[in-house]
């Protein structure tokens, strides 16, 4: 599946897909569920919570 195709399915631009992929943008819970649904997976299989290291 291309970024463009995923964008069409979940209703966002290709740029937004790139930003989510490169972790520059955290999607809303609703969008995260839509992405997981597009891949027919559970949300926790697509997104993994990583705690940021304290500086």
């Amino acid at each position: 599946m291309t970024q463009e195709q995923l964008g069409e399915i979940i209703g966002v631009s290709r740029q937004s897909v790139i930003a989510i992929e490169t972790m520059k943008y955290n999607p809303s819970l609703e969008l995260a569920f839509r992405i997981a649904k597009a891949f027919r997976m559970q949300i926790e299989d697509v997104f993994v919570f990583e705690e940021k290291e304290e500086k």
């Binding site: 069409e8 209703g11 966002v12 740029q15 937004s16 790139i18 930003a19 520059k24 943008y25």
Partner: protein, 165 residues
């Protein structure tokens, strides 16, 4: 002439906003990330506006009043200019395709020139309004800082490019 500037600017602004949204809607561009970038850049632009308010207040305190209408025009220019610029930078940074490295350096150069030119324009407006040419000298430190940051960024990029190669 003044009416033309005020209402012409407003008309062009609304037209730009409308056609921009229409073009974005064609490729699902009106999404939550656009809303996030709009809100974030608007928030950033308020910091610049606060700084501009302090500059104008300082001018008033030091007896170099620019007048109500020019002061409002400068504030509007700073607010809209920094909003647009910060949105542009935010968008470029967030949506940069890691697989496509072309145009990255060019974009940084454009951003740097835009920032430098904006600073020069702002200080030129202030010096023209106050009749005090020395305000142009005040533009030198921020412009130099901009050039220094840009040069070091390009050097860093070139170094990392050599290491990767």
């Amino acid at each position: 002439m003044v009416y033309l500037g005020i209402y012409g600017g407003l008309l062009f602004g609304i037209a730009g906003w409308y056609f921009g949204r229409r073009a974005a809607a064609k490729n699902n561009g009106l999404d939550e990330m656009l809303a996030y970038m709009t809100a974030k850049s608007r928030s950033i632009s308020w910091y610049f506006t606060i700084a501009a308010i302090y500059v104008l207040l300082s001018l008033e305190v030091f007896g170099l009043s620019v007048g109500t209408i020019p002061a409002l025009a400068i504030l509007l220019f700073v607010l809209l200019g920094s909003w647009g610029l910060s949105f542009f930078i935010l968008q470029a940074r967030m949506t940069a395709d890691p697989d496509d490295d072309t145009g990255k350096g060019k974009l940084q150069l454009v951003i740097s020139i835009t920032i430098g030119a904006s600073m020069l324009i702002l200080f030129a407006i202030i010096s023209a309004l106050t009749g005090e040419w020395r305000f142009l000298l005040a533009a030198i430190p921020p412009v130099m800082l901009n050039v220094l940051i840009m040069t070091s960024l390009r050097k860093k990029q070139a170094d990392s490019g050599k290491k990767a190669g």
